[in-house]
């Protein structure tokens, strides 16, 4: 059964490749500055948040812009992927109604395309730490591991959201709100230890907390990551992907009729 899933995907690898390429390219195709937006967008966002939180709200974190950037960019990767997943099946409705291909290609290519965008954006983090005087440490070797954890978390959620949204279109709007809440429930603009102990549980049950903390350890604090939680997260995320895939494969049978 599991071998079949992978074999099917392998047979359609060309489609996966072209879909990812199209997804990445289409993002900037019609804009004048093109790929530059990959850099400008997060950069402007960081500047806005840095002004609000360090100048207006007087946050005392050293190098706040770098602190922010190490959390905000991975978050953007997460939130854009989830947001896009909510719409992607409906947007591809036309082709789903006309041709057979493994439907899971759609969420997978959305998440993978965003991963490529994230890899590009990582250059911004690197730029910040190099030119901000923090520098790069050997702990950057943990980066791929954290990325894998994040990819799997996003993929698991993407399978579920993309398929359920076909049946309940309202969910698309909820997702925007939930993501906004989750943004503040993740230590992005603040650090985890600045939160009073009675609220720590919120962060504890949020997978993005571990991921943002890990990136921040790598780039900002230059320390080892919490390896145990990341590996645990990977295991949970793999379980999540299996469940997510199962839900997706059940729901995809009705896609052509619902769209």
């Amino acid at each position: 059964m599991i071998m079949n899933v992978f074999k099917n995907l392998y047979d359609y690898r060309e489609l996966l490749k072209t879909s990812v390429k199209k997804e990445v390219r289409s993002k900037y195709k019609n804009s004048f500055l093109g790929v530059l937006w990959s850099f400008l967008n997060p950069l402007l966002q960081i500047i806005v948040y840095a002004i609000i939180f360090s100048l207006i709200l007087k946050n005392k974190q050293d190098n706040y812009a770098i602190f922010l950037c190490a959390g905000l960019i991975p978050w953007t990767y997460f939130s854009i992927s989830i947001n896009k997943s909510a719409f992607t099946i409906i947007e591809n409705g036309n082709i789903i109604k006309k041709v057979y291909f493994p439907r899971e290609i759609i969420p997978i290519s959305v998440v993978t395309a965003e991963t490529i965008n994230f890899l590009i954006s990582t250059l911004i983090i690197l730029g910040f730490v190099i030119f901000g005087g923090i520098g790069i440490s050997k702990y950057i070797l943990y980066y791929p591991l954290v990325l894998i954890a994040q990819y799997l978390v996003i993929l698991a959620i993407s399978f579920i959201i993309s398929s359920i949204c076909v049946y309940f279109r309202d969910l698309q709007h909820f997702i925007g709100i939930i993501l906004q809440l989750l943004f503040y429930a993740t230590p992005i603009v603040y650090s985890q230890d600045s939160i009073p102990p009675e609220y720590q549980w919120i962060l504890k049950y949020n997978p993005m907390t571990y991921i943002v903390n890990a990136y921040r350890n790598i780039f900002y604090y230059k320390t080892a990551i919490d390896l145990k939680s990341i590996i645990l997260l990977i295991i949970i995320a793999i379980g999540g992907c299996v469940c997510g895939y199962w839900i997706f494969s059940k729901l995809q049978k009705g896609f052509a009729e619902q769209l």
């Binding site: 060309e14 199209k22 789903i96 006309k98 041709v99 057979y100 309940f168 309202d170 009729e257």
Partner: protein, 243 residues
């Protein structure tokens, strides 16, 4: 079992036809009573076995369930009950040019379209010349598809689909592609594929092409198989009755 390419067993398919479809939760809750749906039985217990290398035509009036049956075979739709088993790689030409992107060139669209049919880059590279030649679009192949006439568009789409190396080919009412010259070419190509031992299922209203291509015809009527047998016999009865 093994020598059957397609095995359809006791298949039922219903569609829910929403008279006033509410997609949002708000509407679903507010207008519970309005959520009227009509169950429409499109297929009622279809049993059909198609041998490898057989060319079968599905005929019947509009709304008899022919296209639905094809969509079930290609796994765009799934049956409410019953089983469909497919033996071999299946390609369906339900609608030509699905997934064509108007801003990309003909060549790029060949790659994209063929990849939807599950071909790898290498396989497409090998087929590229054949596809371009078959479509007769040599000089226009690098122009964006949106500049094509509808005939050119259809020719390209058909050329891609017919050159996908599938064991089973499902074709829905697309034999009316292009001018007579191109139609004849398509029929010739399909005959060639049939002689190579490919399995084919056609849905069409053109009885002439059925006679040319198929040895067996299945007459669907109101979601059930009316007659299944030799092409000429079935067509004669069909034509007589629907006159």
């Amino acid at each position: 079992m093994e020598n059957y390419a397609i095995c359809v067993k006791d298949v039922y398919k219903n569609f829910n036809v929403y008279l006033d479809k509410s997609n949002t939760i708000k509407e679903k809750i507010l207008f519970l009573s309005r959520n009227k749906k009509e169950k429409r039985e499109v297929l009622k217990g279809i049993n059909l076995k198609i041998k490898q290398g057989e060319a079968v035509a599905l005929i019947g009036t509009n709304g008899s369930g022919k296209s639905t049956l094809l969509k079930l075979m290609t796994k765009i739709l799934y049956p409410n009950s019953g089983v469909i088993r497919i033996n071999g790689k299946l390609t369906s030409l339900l609608e030509l040019g699905a997934g064509f992107h108007p801003d990309f060139s003909g060549r790029e669209n060949i790659y994209f379209n063929a990849s939807i049919f599950g071909l790898t880059k290498k396989q497409i590279d090998a087929k590229l010349e054949d596809i371009i030649e078959f479509s007769e679009l040599e000089e226009y192949i690098d122009n964006p598809v949106r500049t094509y006439s509808s005939g050119m568009f259809m020719r390209l789409a058909f050329a891609v689909a017919i050159n996908v190396n599938a064991d089973i080919l499902l074709v829905d009412e697309i034999l009316s592609v292009g001018d007579e010259h191109f139609q004849n070419k398509c029929i010739k190509k399909m005959l060639e594929l049939r002689d190579k031992g490919k399995t084919m299922v056609f849905v069409t209203h053109s009885m002439d092409s059925v006679r040319k291509l198929c040895s067996r015809a299945v007459w669907l009527c109101d979601g059930q198989i009316r007659i299944d047998g030799n092409t000429n016999e079935v067509i004669n009865k069909y034509v007589e009755e629907t006159k």
